[in-house]
Every structure is written in C-alpha cells, then in structure tokens.
C-alpha cells in the first residue's frame, strides 16, 4: 500500500525527534516548566488552597497537561519551522517536492501533536502517582488531542510568519505565555472580572481547560469542543494557505 503524501514529512520530524530524545537535555527541557509549576503551585501553595470543595492539585494537574501540550506542540513546530525555513533551508526541500501544501501541513501538525502528547505524558504519570483525584476520561483525551492539533497548527502559522528566530519568542511572550496563565490553568476564570472574562473566553486554551476538567458531555462542554475544532480547522487552513503561497 502506498503511504499517504504527508507521511514523509511526518517521518522526517519523527526521525529528528528520536535523535533529540536520545539527548537527556531535550526531555528535561520539555518537562521542567510544568514540573516546577506542579511543585510550586500544587505541592507548595496548593496545600492551603481548596477550590469548589476539592483539593487544588486535582484542579491543577489537568490544567498543567493542557498547558504543557500547548507549549510543546506549538513551540517545537514554530521553532523548528522557523529554523528550517530561515537557517537550515530544509523547508525548501519540502516546498520543492511534488506534494500539496496540505500534505506538508498535515505532516508537520501530526509531528507537533506527537511532541505535545509526549510532553503531556509525564504530567499525566505524575497525576496518577499523586494524591490528586485524577483519571483519563474520553473527554480528557479528546481535549488533549484537539489542543495539540490547534496549537501545532498555530505553530506552523508562527513558523511561517516569523522573519527571524528571535521573532518566535516575541509571539510566545505576547500570546502563548499570557494564555498559559489567564486561561484557567491555575485558577478558575469565573473569579476574573466580567470584561476580562469575555476576552479570556475567546482564547483557545480556555476551552481546552474547560473540556479537560469536564466530567459530562453537557452543552457548555460541547460548545467548547466545537470552538476548539473551529480554531484548529481555521489555523490548519491558514497554515496550509501560507505554505501554498510560500515565495522567497
């Protein structure tokens, strides 16, 4: 059977990822931020905090999974694409191959999703061994997958937009990092002022945090799932278009 057109793009990223995994620093760097948050907010501050009658750690761990999967699926795609396009010029090999832009996009996004899921894995493991009430529901897994899809697709857009490697951290500082803190990762957004809440509700990670902590397929959950799917599809379409229109 002939493999799909996106497969070589995905395979290339996986071969490079495998090499990176052999370096201890890579795994450590992917895990260090959420683990620090877990220790500081969860085991430190969290011991004296209770939310909606439950312990803080049970609230925090799904949020850290969402944040970690966002950061990793987004950053690795954006950074790698930026470097491959501007410095190593390996992106040009893909653009000059007889495959459609959607195949390049899908290969890059699926690879980004794998990286995001990999980074989430350790937090999930910590969740299981911690005293928190933590389990993997179908909604949790769906939210995680959609989150990786959304942010890997957004990573392609950033990787295509940036004009230098430094630009990547600018986008990160102005968009990704504030979203990590304000989208319900560390505290419920209901506590925020109404005007701020309207803005927060428009952020993609807010919907992930809502679905990943949800225990039922209620109307609010379904609406957030729809919002995530819509964000993902729009980011995917924009990324594909940018690759199709690529010109040096």
């Amino acid at each position: 059977m002939t493999p799909p057109l996106w497969y070589p793009v995905f395979l290339r990223e996986m071969l490079l990822f495998r090499r990176k995994l052999l370096k201890v620093g890579y795994v450590f760097s992917a895990m260090v931020t959420p683990i620090i948050y877990l220790l500081v907010f969860g085991y430190g501050l969290g011991r004296s905090v209770r939310l909606n009658g439950g312990d803080y750690l049970s609230f925090l761990i799904p949020g850290l999974v969402a944040m970690s999967s966002m950061n990793n699926s987004y950053s690795w795609v954006a950074s790698a694409l930026n470097l491959n396009r501007l410095y190593f010029k390996t992106f040009q090999v893909l653009v000059q191959a007889p495959i459609p832009s959607s195949a390049i996009m899908l290969g890059e996004v699926l690879a980004g999703m794998v990286k995001g899921l990999f980074a989430s894995l350790l937090i999930i493991l910590v969740g299981f061994i911690s005293p928190a009430h933590f389990y993997l529901s179908p909604l949790f897994l769906l939210a995680l997958l959609l989150n990786c899809f959304m942010f890997a697709s957004l990573g392609v857009i950033t990787g295509m937009l940036t004009k230098s490697h430094e630009d990547t951290s600018t986008y990160n500082n102005f968009f990704i990092m504030p979203m990590s803190f304000f989208s319900g990762t560390f505290f419920p957004i209901d506590k925020m002022p109404t005007a701020v809440r309207v803005v927060i509700r428009a952020l993609p990670l807010t919907h992930t945090n809502l679905v990943i902590r949800s225990h039922s397929w209620d109307g609010r959950t379904l609406l957030s799932l729809l919002a995530m799917a819509a964000y993902g599809l729009v980011f995917f379409a924009v990324g594909s278009r940018m690759i199709r229109r690529y010109s040096e």
């Binding site: 493999p3 070589p8 490079l16 190593f88 090999v93 653009v95 191959a97 007889p98 010109s247």
Partner: protein, 286 residues
C-alpha cells in the same frame, strides 16, 4: 531550437523579479535544450540564484514565464516539481540525519519506485555508499556537495538546477563534481548551472549566459562570446604597474598591439570568459 541543435526543454521568457525598488531580475529570456548544460555566469548579486529560485518554484516571478517540459512554473507548480532536481547554493541537508535517511526521505517525498535500490545506487554513484550511516552534518564540504547532487538526481529529473555547485571546494573535488555533471548531460538531462568560476563555465557549459545587475547581457557558446569581443588579448603592465588589456580579432592583431605597447612585460593569449565579461560590463567577476 537552442544552440548546438538541442530541442528546448526549458523556455524562459521575460522573467522578472523585484524586491521593493530593487530589480533583482529584469526581463531575462533563454532556452535550454535536452541534454544541454547551460551556464549562467555573473558576479555575486547579479540575479543568478533568484532566477534558479523562480525556475524551481521557490520564488514567484513578478512577470514573465518559465516552462519546463511544457509545464508552467506558476500554473503547473505541483507537476513541475516532479521533473526538476535542485542543488542549492547553501547546503540544505538534514544535518542530524544520516546520508541514507536524507536520500530515503527525498525518495519518499518524490515517490521514487524501488526506493532502497535507487538510494543505494545514488550513494554509490557519488562514492558515499560506505558512509551511508554517517550523519550529513559531520561530512566534509565535498561530501555534502556530492550528497546534494545524489539527492537532486535521485528522482531522475528531466531538468537539473545547480546553484554554484562547486563553491568552496578544492580543485580535485571540483573536478569530481564536473564528472557527475557531465554524466547528467549524457543521460539527456537539461542542466542549468550558475557559477562565478570562469574555468567551470568553460569546461562544462555548451552555452553561457552572462548576467549583470539582473540583465542577460550576452548569450552564446564560449567561442561565440570570445569572438564577440576578440579571440585574443594583449596584456601589458604599464610604467605605473597597472595591468592594461586590449582585445584583438586575431593573433597578428594582438602582436601588433604588443609592439606598440612599449617597454615592460607584454603577453598575448587567447581570450576567456572573464575577458568577455570585463569587455561587456567593465566589471570583474568576483
């Protein structure tokens, strides 16, 4: 028909590219026949790489047309990519992947049948089979260039584009590369080669186009271009140590010029492409 009786496989007409106010390529036209090696010669910044990028679907032209094997570079982008092979000026191998992995991925992207056999043959052709598992990033400059050429030829393209293929290579490796390029001609590939090495253009190219500031200012075989400015050159160092060069139509004319040059070192030699370039542009190729 193109020069040398080659049926044209590549047709470029009025190709143009601007970056803001800068005109990088200004209405360039030429054809390249099947089995022909065509050289674009010019100094840095003349527009050579921009032309290659436009012809290989990396840069969209602002005006003009380019057709390769009947396929338009803008309208038939996807199909066109299946008939071209590119060796870029900068090494764009995956440094952290092995030579085998680099070629295998390229073969997958281009849907090359009997992939493993083709990759093995491509590595053998550039004498890198024994280094198949070596990381591309640890290869010497010459090995990287050979691997890039093997990759460009892997999908058996009809047209091969080589952007400064021998830049930075020592003379021995450069000549090995020339053999590979000549073999491509034997296999009826159309080759577009950019270079600023005069001897490379003279040794390899059936026809040469001379570029200056984005314009194609001369085009023809090397003897035709030499004839255009004079087949001979008289050189002499004047009393202030400056090199004076004068073109001549014949050896006799050059010797007559030498006799009138006065005292000092005087040489009469056949003209080369650099003389042609200097005569046409008043600049040296650097």
């Amino acid at each position: 028909m193109t020069g040398g009786g080659h049926a044209p496989l590549i047709e470029v007409s009025g190709l143009e590219k601007r970056y803001g106010e800068l005109v990088a390529v200004a209405g360039v036209s030429f054809t390249i026949g099947e089995g022909e090696i065509f050289g674009l010669l010019g100094p840095n910044g003349a527009g050579k790489s921009t032309i290659i990028r436009m012809m290989t679907a990396l840069t969209r032209p602002d005006a003009g047309e380019c057709r390769i094997n009947g396929l338009d570079v803008v309208r038939d982008r996807l199909a066109l990519k299946a008939v071209i092979g590119v060796v870029p000026q900068e090494n764009n191998l995956d440094r952290e992947l092995s030579a085998w992995e680099n070629l295998d991925l390229y073969a997958r992207l281009h849907r090359v049948p009997e992939r493993a056999d083709k990759v093995r043959a491509a590595l053998a052709a550039v004498e890198l089979l024994d280094r198949a598992d070596g990381l591309a990033g640890r290869f010497s400059g010459g090995m990287k260039r050979r691997l890039l050429i093997a990759r460009a030829l892997l999908a058996d393209p009809k047209a091969l584009f080589l952007d400064e293929p021998s830049i930075g290579l020592d003379p021995q490796i450069r000549r090995q590369l020339w053999d590979v390029i000549r073999q491509a001609r034997i296999r009826r590939k159309s080759v577009l080669l950019t270079t600023h090495y005069i001897e490379e253009a003279e040794a390899l190219c059936d026809r040469v186009g001379i570029l200056a500031r984005g314009r194609l200012i001369a085009l023809g075989t090397v003897p035709e271009l030499q004839e255009r400015v004079g087949a001979y050159v008289m050189e002499h160092i004047d009393s202030e140590g400056r090199l004076i060069q004068k073109p001549a139509r014949s050896r006799e004319e050059a010797h007559a010029l030498a006799q009138g040059a006065g005292n000092g070192s005087v040489t009469v030699r056949r003209s080369n492409l650099e003389d042609v370039f200097i005569q046409l542009t008043g600049e040296r190729i650097e």
